[in-house]
């Protein structure tokens, strides 16, 4: 009862200060929205990886795979069954179709162990019969059925809710046809309880692999999700800045009232308790709004995220959101937690509030100086921490620690820097109005510094990310030119088809060279790698984007003694030039020397290039469907047209189309980053707006004397606007070097850790100007309403500035 009276009294404050209430709620809601939006994206993607990993019990069942990671003959399966092993065969692979590839999983329902679960083919024997007998049945997620239904090259589709998107589960007989792998198997599911060692005859070629709780996708996409999380967290922090300043302001305004309440007999415990209750209530409301907005953000970004994950990692993530109730609860909890964190200082001050106002309140300048000194010390400590993480740290988390520390230290230093600039300005000023302007700016700094810090962070990250993306774009474009040096690339349906095409091409005079691009998939120290065979040709020698090379690398590779290794692989496995790497081939381990390292942007898997003859000698099963052609550039288009006409089953692309495709994938990869970036800037804008709005009430007291002394309201409004713009401009200037530092951390530390490649930085001054403009526009918009209000303020309101002074 008593608590209710106190709560009502506290809440009455917001009724009289709706803008502050809105600030608090909006800040919390925005922080929650961005954070939970990003979490939703991650959760959605991770759920589909887990689903993919759990298909056929991959998360609980051990599997038998070939030691070289390739497909192996059906006879091995039969031999194991005949030795009494309860294994069930699986063929899997990507089926290339006109509208993208589909993952095909072929199973044998007759031997599928119950633990493989999740396939509801067993539901009704009728469906099982259809699944097993022509024309068979392909199971797929509902959205995949909707997309692929009626396709002529696939069996009739049936829905199965638990499957990841773009995945077909079919009978093994259908799968070997769709994947063109007759008599081959990808792996065997091992029923639980089998602990024997593999029979000696098979032990050399096959091995047992423990169930993976996290699939390759989980590991490969880790960095992508960490990136998203980092951005989400940054936005959350920027949002909390707003909350912190709103709560702090409300506390200052309510301090006399809190004292009165205490004097009227409200104990410190009850007062603090009720304030916590009030805050939690507000945070619940804001949190709910935040998660709803977060859902909307996630839903609108998900298609891009899904596209980048697919383009980058081949991960199949559904384009529509479905979230567990836990996500909603977590979103609201983060809102409450964030609010309590941001309010901790204010609540502590309420708890320890002296009942009597200090006899000699500290002058604002003194308080500001003390605050700045404290912040400076904190900034130095955090900066030192960031430096330590840079020097001693390793891994992506350390990379983000460097970036976080850098940003935080810079933000904390910002008020000191601005105060310094303003006091320098004040020293040089002669005219009283100008002097007042500088001094007043300094005083205002305390109230605005949090918003300016938020703006600084948003701008710096914008500069950093912008520089990184554009540097990458420029590097990538140049790299594509080197990498896609051949004019035409083609893929036949099978090896015989490729042979036929090759014969046809020999009769075409414009084809200068026909280069095989044959490859196998394998695993190297438990990471997936692609091993490519290439024919020694000037196309490679002249163009290939080598980063580091031994002398005569090309000759040694052509001789089959050495290999080229992609940058990612070299970094991941810590390979140096001249070192030996052992490739697992069906003919046994094959040690090759690392002769050169080349850049291979955008590829999550490691890559090794060896001479094609060496490849086919050791991997007779190599995929021989792909070819690159050197033709006169002007003849390329006609050749592609002829090829398509002569061989309808052959995919032929000319270089330009391929480059366009690569660039499109590239652009989508950064769509989310850029979108989150823009949102962060918007949040900083909101922070600035709300700070100016709440300050504008207090400002009346400070401006009223000037008005009384004859400065027009119009002039005062213009001055206020000018000051906001000047502070924003100063902040933007400070953001520039910070942004470049962020760009450096991103390209030289985070990219290397996350993706395995290092990028050169290019500078884009045009971009900086744009951002400066954006900062000014943000400040302008934020200052517009307070200035307008001031300009329209009635003299009575200004007079109250005197009478209300307390």
């Amino acid at each position: 009862m008593r608590a209710l009276v106190v709560l009502r009294t506290l809440l009455a404050h917001w009724r009289r200060h709706p803008v502050e209430l809105a600030t608090l709620l909006v800040g919390l809601a925005v922080a929650t929205a961005l954070w939970s939006g990003v979490q939703a994206l991650n959760a959605q993607a991770r759920a589909s990886y887990d689903r993919a990993a759990a298909v056929l019990g991959g998360d609980v069942l051990s599997t038998v795979v070939a030691a070289d990671g390739q497909r192996f003959p059906l006879e091995d399966y039969v031999a194991l069954r005949r030795a009494g092993w309860k294994v069930s065969p699986v063929i899997e692979g990507d089926m290339r179709r006109a509208d993208g590839s589909v993952r095909v999983l072929g199973v044998d329902p007759v031997t599928l162990p119950p633990a493989a679960g999740s396939l509801d083919i067993g539901e009704g024997a009728e469906r099982l019969t259809q699944f097993l007998t022509p024309p068979n049945l392909a199971l797929a997620a509902p959205e995949t059925v909707a997309r692929l239904g009626g396709a002529q090259d696939l069996p009739p589709l049936a829905e199965s809710a638990d499957l990841p998107p773009d995945t077909l589960v079919v009978d093994i007989a259908v799968a070997e046809r769709l994947l063109d792998a007759p008599g081959r198997l990808s792996r065997l599911l091992l029923a639980p309880g089998e602990t024997r060692a593999l029979p000696a005859a098979l032990a050399g070629r096959l091995r047992v692999e423990a169930p993976r709780e996290t699939g390759d996708l989980d590991r490969l996409t880790d960095s992508f999700h960490l990136n998203l999380t980092a951005f989400g967290f940054l936005s959350f922090v920027v949002g909390l800045f707003i909350v912190y300043s709103a709560i702090g302001l409300a506390f200052e305004q309510r301090k006399p009232m809190l004292r009165t309440l205490r004097a009227c007999g409200v104990s410190a415990r009850m007062l603090t308790g009720v304030m916590v209750g009030e805050l939690v209530g507000l945070a619940l409301v804001a949190g709910l709004a935040g998660v709803v907005a977060g859902y909307a953000i996630a839903a609108s970004l998900l298609p891009d995220v899904a596209a980048s994950l697919r383009g980058l990692y081949g991960a199949r993530v559904p384009g529509s959101l479905s979230l567990a109730p836990a996500w909603w609860a977590a979103g609201i909890a983060i809102s409450v937690g964030g609010a309590l964190f941001a309010a901790a200082g204010s609540l502590w001050r309420a708890w320890t509030l002296p009942l009597l106002a200090p006899a000699q309140p500290q002058a604002w300048l003194q308080a500001q100086r003390r605050g700045l000194r404290l912040q400076g010390a904190l900034a130095a400590a955090i900066g030192a921490g960031a430096l330590a993480a840079l020097v001693f740290g390793d891994g992506l988390v350390a990379g983000f620690a460097v970036m976080g520390g850098l940003l935080l230290a810079a933000a904390l230093l910002l008020p000191s820097v601005l105060a310094g600039v303003l006091s320098l300005g004040a020293r040089g000023a002669r005219r009283p109005m100008v002097q007042w302007l500088w001094a007043d700016g300094r005083q205002q700094l305390s109230g605005l510094s949090l918003a300016l810090m938020a703006l600084l962070l948003a701008l710096a990250v914008n500069v950093g990310v912008g520089t990184m993306v554009d540097s990458f774009r420029r590097t990538f474009t140049g790299w594509l030119d080197q990498r896609l040096a051949a004019e035409v690339y083609l893929t036949a349906a099978d090896a015989e088809g490729a042979q036929a095409v090759a014969l046809w091409l020999d009769a075409r005079p414009e084809v200068r060279a026909r280069l095989p691009i044959w490859n196998v998939e394998g695993r190297l120290r438990d990471w997936p790698v692609e091993i490519y065979g290439f024919r020694d040709d000037p196309t490679y020698r002249d163009n290939w984007p080598l980063i580091a090379t031994l002398p005569e690398a090309w000759d040694r590779v052509a001789a089959g003694e050495a290999a080229l290794v992609s940058e990612q692989l070299a970094r991941r496995l810590n390979l140096a030039l001249g070192e030996t790497v052992t490739l697992p081939s069906p003919q046994g381990p094959w040690p090759v020397e690392v002769a050169a390292i080349y850049s291979d942007y955008g590829n999550p898997e490691g890559q090794v290039m060896v001479a094609v003859d060496a490849l086919t000698a050791r991997w007779p099963e190599v995929d021989r469907r792909r070819l690159a052609l050197r033709v006169a550039p002007e003849a390329a288009a006609a050749l592609v047209t002829d090829l398509r006409a002569a061989f309808p089953g052959v995919e032929a692309v000319d270089q330009r189309a391929l480059k366009d495709l690569s660039k499109r994938i590239f652009e989508r990869t950064f769509t989310v980053t850029v979108a989150l970036n823009a949102l962060t800037l918007a949040v900083a804008g909101i922070a600035l707006l709300t700070s100016l709005l709440t300050l504008s009430n207090l400002r009346l007291v400070q401006l009223a004397p000037l008005w009384a002394m004859g400065v027009t309201r119009r002039r005062l409004a213009a001055i206020e606007m000018g000051k906001a713009l000047a502070l924003a401009a100063l902040t933007a200037l400070a953001a520039l070097p910070l942004g470049l530092a962020v760009a450096w951390v991103l390209t030289a530390v985070i990219n290397v850790q996350a993706f395995g490649w290092k990028l050169p930085i290019f500078l884009f001054p045009g971009q900086w100007l744009t951002l400066l403009g954006m900062a000014l526009a943000t400040a302008f918009l934020a200052a517009l309403w307070p200035a307008w209000r001031l300009r329209r303020a009635s003299p009575l309101t200004l007079l109250q500035g005197f009478s209300n002074e307390r």
Binding site: V6, C264, L356
Partner: protein
């Protein structure tokens, strides 16, 4: 009723500790009124704050009714303020977010001593009937102080502590407010301890104690 015994209090400042009260003793019977006078800095307000439990003594005891204020913790002192003490400040200290009626009833409500009839009578006798729905900033100084007096009396506390209640008012308003205060204190049967530097106001009360440099003169 109120018994202040050998209370001392000093404050730490940058220039060293300042002894504000030195072994001050005084007493106040039920229904009696006492003026506490003295020059600025003589320790009047500090003594008032100590009696109200807003601050803690260094030495000595303060008893109010059956309780020993100086021996109580924060929560108990808050409870004592809610139920036994009404405070009136020079700066009124109304709650800006509550209207007049809300302010009047506030302390009585949180002390569980709300009495609608008594509040109505107070409202009427304080002449606040017309402005009940207004907020403090919409009131004149005299009106604000009358609200503060009403708030202090609404819970029928045993003791009213007033700190220069007319200090922020012009002379005529001050006298009217003072008369009203005494009349209502009398009507409610409370005791009154009032800090004032005005001998004329002090003379309106039953007794008078003067502090000089932290001691009873």
């Amino acid at each position: 009723m109120l018994d202040v015994d050998a209370v001392s209090k000093s404050y730490a400042t940058a220039q060293g500790p300042i002894e504000v009260l030195r072994c001050v003793s005084l007493g106040l019977g039920p229904g009696r009124t006492l003026a506490l006078t003295g020059e600025s800095g003589s320790g009047k307000s500090t003594l008032l704050h100590l009696i109200a439990g807003l601050d803690a003594v260094d030495a000595g005891t303060i008893r109010l009714g059956g309780s020993c204020v100086t021996g109580l913790g924060d929560a108990a002192r808050a409870a004592l303020r809610r139920t036994a003490i009404g405070l009136i400040f020079q700066q009124f200290n109304l709650i800006p977010s509550l209207d007049v009626a809300g302010n009047l009833g506030f302390q009585a409500r949180i002390g569980g001593r709300h009495d609608a009839a008594w509040q109505e009578e107070l409202t009427e006798r304080l002449g606040l009937g017309e402005v009940q729905a207004r907020f403090p900033e919409q009131l004149s100084g005299g009106q604000q102080q009358r609200v503060a007096i009403g708030r202090a009396l609404a819970g029928r506390p045993a003791l009213i502590l007033a700190d220069e209640p007319t200090g922020n008012l012009d002379e005529a308003t001050g006298e009217a407010v003072m008369a009203l205060l005494l009349e209502l204190v009398d009507a409610s049967g409370a005791s009154l301890l009032m800090v004032t530097h005005s001998p004329r106001l002090a003379a309106m009360l039953d007794a008078r104690v003067t502090l000089r440099a932290g001691r009873v003169a």
